[in-house]
Symmetry: C2
Subunit: 344 residues, 2 copies
C-alpha cells in the first residue's frame, strides 16, 4: 500500500467556520466514498469540531482531530502575525506539514498571515527566487493556471521564469493528460511590446520551451486569457491581481444585468420556465466556487488558501484541489521542471 495523502485543514479559519469547513469535509468524503487513500487532519477546538462532525453526521476513520485553542483573527496584520499566531489552528497546520506529517495545508483564514507564516515555517524551495500565488481560471477548452495573483507586487525576469516553471508543474499535476502551454501577459502580442523585464523573461522562456517542460507560446493579451490557446498565464502579482479581480467584477456585472433583464416582467419570467435548466447549467459552469482555492507555490510544500467568504461547497472544491495536487505529485513535478531549466 502506498503512503496516504495527508491534508492539514485549518478548521477554524474564514467566515462561518467551523460549520463551513466541516460541511466542506462532508462533501469531500461523500465524493470520495470509495477511496481511503487520504487522511484529513482537522486543526481547531476538539469539542467544537466533534460537535460539528455529529451535526453533519460524519463518521469515518479518515479524520484526525488535532486540538488547538486559538485562531488567527481576520484583523491580524501580517507584520505582527509571526509573534501572535503561534499555536493557532493555522500555524499548527503548517508546522504539521513541516514535520512531514501532512503533505499540504488548507486554510480559509487571514490571507496575509497565511502567506507570511507559510513562508517563514516551510521556507523557500531551493532554486526558486520568489514564491507565487496561483489560481484556476476557466477558459474555452477547460482551465487555466494563472500566477502570480498578488504575492509579489514587483517582479524581475527571473521571478517570471520561475513562475512559469511552478505554474506548468501545477498544471501537470492537476491535468496529467494535458500539456502546459505558457504565455506571458502583456499589452500586445508583438515582440517589441511591454517592459524590458517582460522582454528578458520572454527570451529566456523561448529557450526553455520544449515538449517535456512546457511549450512557450509568447505574449498573450488580456482579451485572450480565456481563449484556451494557452493554459498557464504568467504575470507579476500586481497585474495578475488586477486582471483576476477585473474579470470577477465584469462577470458579476454581466450576470446581475442579465438577471434583471430576465426577471423584469411577466413575459420574461415565462421564458425562464423554458430556459431554467439551460441557465442552471450555464451558471454552474461559471460558478466561482468551482475555482475556489489559490495555491501558494515555491515553498517546501504547497499551501492552499480558500476564499474567506466562500460557503461550504466552495471550501469542498479547495479541499478537492489539495487532494488532486498531491495525487498529481506537484513537488516532484516542480523539481523536475527546475532541474530541466538549470540544464538549459
Amino acid at each position: 500500500m502506498s503512503k496516504k495523502i495527508s491534508i492539514a485543514i485549518d478548521a477554524m479559519g474564514g467566515d462561518n467556520s467551523p460549520d463551513k469547513t466541516i460541511e466542506g469535509v462532508k462533501f469531500f468524503l461523500d465524493s470520495y466514498k470509495n477511496n481511503d487513500d487520504f487522511i484529513l487532519n482537522l486543526f481547531g477546538n476538539e469539542n467544537i469540531i466533534q460537535e460539528k462532525l455529529l451535526k453533519f453526521k460524519i463518521k469515518t476513520n479518515l479524520i484526525k482531530i488535532i486540538s488547538t485553542n486559538s485562531v488567527v483573527s481576520n484583523e491580524e496584520s501580517p507584520l505582527t502575525a509571526v509573534k501572535k499566531s503561534k499555536g493557532t489552528s493555522m500555524w499548527n497546520c503548517i508546522q504539521h506539514q513541516l514535520e512531514g506529517k501532512s503533505d499540504i495545508s488548507l486554510s480559509a483564514g487571514n490571507t496575509g498571515v497565511l502567506l507570511v507564516i507559510s513562508r517563514m515555517i516551510l521556507k523557500m524551495m531551493e532554486g526558486v527566487s520568489k514564491p507565487a500565488l496561483a489560481g484556476l481560471w476557466p477558459n474555452q477548452n477547460g482551465m487555466n493556471v494563472v500566477l502570480d495573483l498578488g504575492a509579489n507586487i514587483e517582479c524581475n525576469d527571473q521571478n517570471l521564469v520561475d513562475f512559469a516553471e511552478l505554474g506548468s508543474a501545477l498544471y501537470k499535476s492537476l491535468f496529467p493528460n494535458e500539456r502546459p502551454k505558457v504565455s506571458l501577459l502583456n499589452v500586445g502580442s508583438e515582440e517589441i511590446k511591454g517592459t524590458d523585464i517582460l522582454k528578458l523573461a520572454s527570451k529566456r522562456l523561448k529557450d526553455l520551451s520544449d515538449e517535456e517542460n512546457f511549450i512557450y507560446k509568447g505574449y498573450i493579451e488580456g482579451n485572450n486569457i480565456m481563449s484556451g490557446d494557452s493554459n498557464v498565464i504568467v504575470t507579476d502579482g500586481f497585474t495578475g491581481n488586477i486582471a483576476l479581480k477585473t474579470a470577477e467584477g465584469t462577470a458579476k456585472f454581466i450576470t446581475k444585468n442579465l438577471k434583471n433583464s430576465l426577471t423584469e416582467n411577466f413575459i420574461t419570467k415565462i421564458s425562464l420556465l423554458f430556459s431554467y435548466f439551460a441557465l442552471k447549467k450555464f451558471k454552474k459552469k461559471l460558478d466561482p466556487r468551482k475555482y475556489n482555492g489559490a495555491i501558494f507555490l515555491g515553498l517546501n510544500g504547497p499551501v492552499v488558501k480558500s476564499h474567506g467568504g466562500i460557503d461550504s461547497l466552495g471550501f469542498y472544491h479547495s479541499l478537492d484541489l489539495c487532494y488532486k495536487i498531491i495525487k498529481g505529485n506537484l513537488i516532484s513535478q516542480i523539481k523536475k521542471n527546475l532541474k530541466h531549466s538549470k540544464s538549459v
Copy 2:
C-alpha cells in the same frame, strides 16, 4: 451665433472605410438633424467620398471635403510613420486641427501612428507630464472614464496625478451634471497596499481632492471598477490595458456561453421567444460599440481613436463622443483643473 464645433474626420482609416466612416457620418447627421452647430471636415479622396455620400444619400452643407490622396497603412510602424505619413488623410486631420480649423480629430486608422503624429504635431499641453489614452467603461450607475489604456507602459506619481486631472476634466465635459470621483486602481483598498509610486500619487491626490476639481475616493480594486462608487479610474498604461482587455475577454466568454446555453435545444429556443426583447435590451446595454472611441488627452487639442475593426454604428458613437467633448469644453476644463492643482 457662437462658433461652430469643427471635427476633422479621417474618412479613409480603419477596416471597410470609407463606407464605414461615411455611414457613421450619416447616423450622426440623422441623430442631430435639428442642429447646425457643427462642421464635419472629411479627409480623403474627394471622388470616392462624393460617391459614398451619394450612396448613403447624404445631402448637407454641414460637411466639407478636404481631398488627400494617401492613407496610413495598417502595417506602418510608428517608428517610420513620421517620415511616411505626411500628406495622408490622418496627418492632414491633425494638421488642420493644429491650424485651428478644427477642434478635434477622429480616426479609425493605425493606433501607433496616430499617437506618434498627434503628439508630434499638436505637442504636449503646458503643465502635463505625459499624455494618456482614456476610454469609457460602463458601471452600475452610468459610465466610467478609465485612463491610461496603453499610451504609457511605465508611469511615475506625477503622471498618475496628471491622469486624474485629465480624466476628471474629460468626465466633466461629457457629464456636466455629475461630479468626478477619482480612484487609483490597486491590489487592495488599504493605505499600505501597492507600489511606492501609487502611495505617493495617492497622498498627492488626497491633497488635491475638493468639490470643484474632483473628489478623491482612494484605492479601488479590479472587482469594483464597475460598482459605480467611482467614475474616473486612474492607472498606468500597462495595467489599464490589461484590465480593459481582460474585461472585454470575460464579457465575450460569458455571452458566448450564455448564447450556447440558450440555443442548445428546442425547449431553450422556445424560451427565446419570451425573452427576446429583454435579451435585446440587455445586449444593447453592453454593446461595445456604445463605448467605442479612446480619447488621447494631454496634447494641445484632443484626438479620438475609433476601433479599427468596428462597424459604422461604432464609428458613429466615436463621432458623437467628439461632438460632446468639444460641446463640454474639454480643453478649458483641463486648464481649470491644472491651474487649480498648481495652486494647491
